[in-house]
């Protein structure tokens, strides 16, 4: 695990994020804010057969929140929604390969919070 939270992988994902944009045909979406710094991320998800078929995001924020959104959206594709519901800060650390520390953890988990809430809304709708 890197102590420099701006590891090369983070900077790369910040500069060239994966899965950025609005997903056509999404059957759930949710926008989450980080009130401390004003970051915002909206995720669009297609859930099929209780699994993530596709996911995209739009938003603005710091390198940590944006790189995290890029990497988490890559990671959850094909995963079951049941599995994702169990995710917490530890899995974020593993995916990002850094320990953001208590304050920046809020940035790092912003996209995960949005994803979980989008899934929750999908389940309520069903």
């Amino acid at each position: 695990m890197s102590y420099d939270i701006y590891a090369e992988k983070i900077i790369l994902n910040y500069e060239h994020p994966h899965n950025k944009g609005i997903l056509k045909g999404a059957n759930t979406h949710f926008k989450e804010y980080n009130q401390v710094c004003g970051d915002e991320i909206e995720v669009y998800i297609i859930i099929n057969n209780k699994k993530i078929k596709d996911v995209k995001f739009i938003g603005r924020g710091c390198a940590i929140s944006m790189a995290s959104a890029s990497m988490i959206t890559d990671f959850i594709k094909g995963k079951s929604i049941k599995e994702i519901e169990q995710y917490n800060g530890d899995i974020i650390k593993n995916i990002l390969g850094i320990d953001p520390g208590p304050v920046r953890m809020k940035c790092a988990t912003l996209s995960l919070r949005a994803i979980k809430e989008a899934i929750e809304r999908y389940k309520i709708k069903k």
Partner: protein
């Protein structure tokens, strides 16, 4: 001769280390550090005459009362108010402005009236007026930023004045742009239209000589913690003629002369606005801060800030992909530099500055309308200087900017 190193010795906090580096405190627009003289005044009060003011018939209560009143006398002199009758102590600038909007605004604003503020106000000089306008079905008008976005557009101000706003409330120095308004001129023009003028002095009280008689404004609001005093005490200056016609908002101890079951006689100015036990240690600390500023000389502080600004602007101008907001004319600015590094989010900048031991601020600076106007990220970085900052510290900030650019592969 201005000896910054000697001044620094008065500030115990400047000796601490952050992340193994010497603290560089560049968040003075948020709050300022306290010299040992202020700390000792408060300590001495707690250790020697801590007691409640006004009615205690014993020695230490008399001392506390004297010191509380002395604090007001000092502040009145500091801003050239007529007397302490015009000085009401509050919690902070925010409370002072809210007080004016509630106690004065509620009485004078009627449906269809206009209230004039600017696009670059801090939320504390925006929300009280927005809510007042909503309560009264009045119009809230905004003076626009000038084309260069370095300050207010005076033509826009004049155009809005034609609507004869009942209240005009503007900043003296902007907490985002750093730019200074010509508040004397603004007040003169507004008064010609019979507008009552409030000046938000939060960012000018630490470093600009204030003369409320010369300015002519009706209200001037400020906070002690921005001028090396303690937090939790703010000041509302109000012209006696204006204050005399305002009813108190809060009832309680000390604000009345006599009370019977169904009526009361209000106390004199300014005491009728200070109900309940006041922030006595705050007032004593504020007096200490005024003494300290007077010892250094406020014009010397201003000059030192301008030197730091000029030095910083010269350095920052040479850096590519760096944007400075609010112009770089140090003569028209207090010690505030808001900036952005192209493609780096302000929170990453503040985080990486902290790794170098440099405290700066990132975000919307409680002035979302103007920050949204300046930045599509709705967030900018700000470093702000005060009397104890040095050229070497500016160099450290410049180094930090270059390090960040390297990390983010920016040329």
């Amino acid at each position: 001769m201005y000896d910054v190193n000697k001044i620094r010795e008065d500030f115990p906090i400047l000796k601490i280390k952050v992340n193994g580096k010497k603290l560089v405190y560049f968040d003075n627009a948020a709050t300022t550090q306290k010299p040992i003289q202020v700390i000792n005044k408060i300590k001495y009060y707690y250790e020697n005459y801590n007691s409640n003011i006004h009615r205690g018939i014993y020695k230490i209560a008399e001392t506390a009362t004297e010191k509380y009143i002395e604090s007001k006398t000092k502040f009145a002199k500091f801003i050239n108010a007529g007397s302490i009758e015009e000085i009401v102590y509050m919690r902070n600038t925010t409370e002072a402005i809210n007080f004016v909007a509630l106690a004065f605004g509620n009485e004078v604003i009627k449906e269809g009236d206009h209230i004039l503020i600017s696009e670059a106000e801090h939320h504390s000089n925006l929300l009280p007026w927005l809510w007042l306008a909503k309560r009264k079905k009045a119009h809230l008008d905004y003076i626009k930023l000038n084309k260069e976005k370095t300050g207010l557009d005076i033509e826009s101000f004049k155009a809005h004045l034609e609507k004869e706003p009942k209240i005009t409330a503007v900043f003296h120095a902007s907490n985002v742009l750093g730019s200074i308004n010509d508040i004397k001129y603004i007040t003169q023009l507004a008064h010609k239209k019979n507008s009552t003028v409030l000046i938000d002095g939060a960012q000018s009280i630490p470093n600009i000589k204030i003369d409320v008689k010369d300015i002519g404004c009706d209200f001037f609001a400020a906070s002690a913690h921005k001028m090396m005093g303690p937090a939790g005490i703010g000041i509302l200056f109000a012209k006696k003629s204006v204050l005399d016609n305002i009813k108190p908002l809060f009832g309680g101890g000390e604000m009345v002369k006599q009370v019977n079951k169904y009526s009361c006689t209000l106390n004199d100015l300014p005491w009728r606005f200070e109900s309940g036990t006041q922030n006595i240690e705050g007032a004593i600390g504020l007096a200490g801060a005024i003494d300290y500023i007077n010892k250094i000389g406020i014009n010397n502080i201003r000059k030192h800030e301008q030197n730091l600004l000029k030095y910083a602007f010269d350095k920052l101008n040479d850096i590519n992909n760096l944007e400075v907001f609010g112009g770089n004319d140090e003569k028209n600015k207090v010690g505030i530099i808001s900036f952005a590094i192209n493609k780096v989010h302000p929170h990453d900048i503040a985080y990486l500055f902290d790794k170098e031991g440099i405290a700066i601020r990132a975000g919307h600076h409680c002035a979302m309308p103007v920050v949204s106007e300046l930045s599509k990220e709705h967030s900018i970085s700000r470093m702000s200087f005060y009397l104890y900052n040095t050229i070497e510290e500016v160099d450290a900030a410049v180094d930090a900017i270059n390090k960040i650019k390297n990390k983010f592969n920016i040329r």
